[in-house]
C-alpha cells in the first residue's frame, strides 16, 4: 500500500513537472522520480495510467488524470486535471516573448537543449517501466512488435494496444 498522500504537495509535484516540460508526456520523468521517492505511487501505477491515457479521448497528456485517479481517487484525478491545465497558459508569455526576442539564437538553443534532455530522460524512464512485467522473450517481442506497428503507421494506436492486450491474455 502507498504512503499517505498530502494533497498540496501532490498537486505541486504534478504542476512543477508540467511547468518544466513540454508535450503531454514530457512530465513523466519528473513525476516518476518524485512520486516513487515519496512512496505515493508504484511503477505499476505508471504503466497502467500510460496505457489507459493512450486509449481514452483527448490529448495523450491526460494520462496524468488516470494516474491521479489510480493513486488518489477522484480527488487525485481532479487535482491532476488542474495541474496539467495551468502550465499551457504560459504559452501566452511565450507568444509575447517570441514577439520580442524569438529569433535570438540563445532562445532557440535553450529550447533545443531542453528538447534533447527530455528525449534522453524519457528513454530511460520508459525502459524502466519494463521492470513492472519483467524482461524476457515475451516482453521484448511485444516491445519490438509495437515498434514495428508504430513505425508502419497503418493501425491506430488503440488498435495496437488492443492487439497487445489480446497477446498478453494468450502469453501470460
Amino acid at each position: 500500500m502507498c504512503a499517505m498522500i498530502e494533497p498540496l504537495t501532490y498537486f505541486w509535484l504534478l504542476l512543477k513537472a508540467s511547468l518544466f516540460s513540454t508535450g503531454g508526456t514530457g512530465n513523466l520523468p519528473s513525476i516518476h522520480a518524485d512520486m516513487l521517492a515519496r512512496g505515493w505511487a508504484t511503477d505499476r501505477h505508471f504503466a497502467e495510467a500510460l496505457a489507459i491515457g493512450q486509449i481514452s479521448p483527448g490529448p495523450n497528456g491526460l494520462w496524468v488524470v488516470c494516474f491521479g485517479y489510480l493513486t488518489a481517487g477522484v480527488r487525485g484525478a481532479l487535482l491532476a486535471a488542474l495541474a496539467i491545465t495551468i502550465p499551457p497558459f504560459f504559452v501566452l508569455a511565450v507568444a509575447a516573448l517570441h514577439r520580442r526576442i524569438g529569433d535570438h539564437p540563445a532562445m532557440q538553443g535553450f529550447v533545443r537543449g531542453l528538447g534533447l534532455a527530455v528525449s534522453g530522460i524519457f528513454l530511460v524512464v520508459v525502459v524502466q517501466l519494463l521492470n513492472e512485467v519483467g524482461i524476457d522473450w515475451r516482453s521484448v517481442t511485444l516491445v519490438l512488435a509495437a515498434v514495428g506497428l508504430g513505425l508502419s503507421n497503418r493501425l491506430p494506436i488503440p488498435v495496437v494496444l488492443g492487439l497487445a492486450a489480446v497477446a498478453g491474455m494468450v502469453l501470460y
Binding site: S30, A49, I52, N60, G120, Y172
Partner: protein, 225 residues
C-alpha cells in the same frame, strides 16, 4: 502521425515572426462569441478520440476552413509556439486560438470546452479499470499492454530527438556533437547519478543556449575578419 508520436518538443523549426494578439471580437459582442467558442470546443473535445494529430486536424478544419478565425499561416505559427511552451500542446493551441477570437475569457472557455468531455470520459474509464484491475484476465492483458506502451514510448522519444539532431547536423559537426552529448548525457545523469530531473532539464537548456549563442558570435567574428 499516430497518437503517441504527436506532441513532443522540437517540431517547432518553422517559426514565423510576431503574432497578432488583437482579439477579433470587441467586448460588446463577447457573449455570443464565447458561447460559440465553447460549443465548438466542446464538440472537438467529445470527438477527440484518436489523439493529438487527428484532433489538431479537426481544430484546423473548424477554425481555419469553416470559421476563418485564423489564416493557415497563423495556425502554423501558433502551433510552432506551442512546441516551446510548457505542458500539453493541444491545450496551448486552444488557448492561443481562444484568445485570438475573444481575448482571455475566450481562452478559458475554449480550454474548458476541450477538457470537460475528455477528462470526464478518462476518469470514468480509469474508474472502470480500477474496479476490475484485480481480475487475472485483465492482469494478463495489461502484461501485454505495458511492453507495447514501452515500444511506442521508444518511438516517441526518437521522434522527439530526431528533428533536433537533424537541425544540428545541418549547422555543423560541433553542433551535432553538443546535441548528441546533451541527449546521452541527460539520460546518463538520470540513470547513473540519479540527479533531479528538473536540474538536468535546466542545465541542458542553458548549455544549449550558451553553445548556440557562442556559435553565432563566432560566425559574426569570422565574417568581420
Amino acid at each position: 502521425m499516430t497518437k503517441f508520436l504527436d506532441d513532443g518538443p522540437g517540431a517547432g523549426d518553422t517559426r514565423g515572426n510576431g503574432v497578432v494578439a488583437t482579439p477579433l471580437v470587441v467586448l460588446s459582442q463577447a457573449g455570443p462569441a464565447l458561447w460559440l467558442l465553447f460549443r465548438i470546443w466542446l464538440q472537438l473535445g467529445v470527438q477527440s478520440f484518436g489523439g493529438g494529430m487527428a484532433t489538431l486536424y479537426m481544430i484546423r478544419r473548424a477554425v481555419v476552413d469553416q470559421r476563418q478565425w485564423l489564416t493557415a499561416a497563423e495556425f502554423t505559427q501558433d502551433w510552432a509556439l506551442c512546441q516551446a511552451a510548457p505542458g500539453i500542446n493541444l491545450i496551448c493551441m486552444t488557448i492561443l486560438i481562444g484568445r485570438r477570437v475573444a481575448g482571455i475569457p475566450g481562452a478559458l472557455v475554449a480550454v474548458i470546452g476541450l477538457l470537460l468531455p475528455s477528462v470526464s470520459i478518462t476518469i470514468t474509464m480509469t474508474a472502470l479499470y480500477a474496479t476490475f484491475r484485480d481480475s487475472t484476465l485483465l492482469q494478463s492483458a495489461l502484461h501485454g499492454v505495458v511492453p507495447a506502451t514501452v515500444g511506442l514510448g521508444l518511438l516517441l522519444s526518437s521522434s522527439m530527438a530526431r528533428p533536433l539532431l537533424a537541425a544540428s547536423w545541418r549547422e555543423s559537426w560541433g553542433s551535432l556533437v553538443v546535441s548528441s552529448g546533451l541527449l546521452v548525457g541527460s539520460a546518463l545523469a538520470l540513470l547513473l547519478w540519479h540527479l533531479p530531473v528538473i536540474l538536468v532539464l535546466c542545465c541542458a537548456g542553458l548549455i544549449g543556449a550558451l553553445t548556440a549563442w557562442q556559435q553565432t558570435l563566432r560566425k559574426a567574428y569570422v565574417r568581420h575578419d
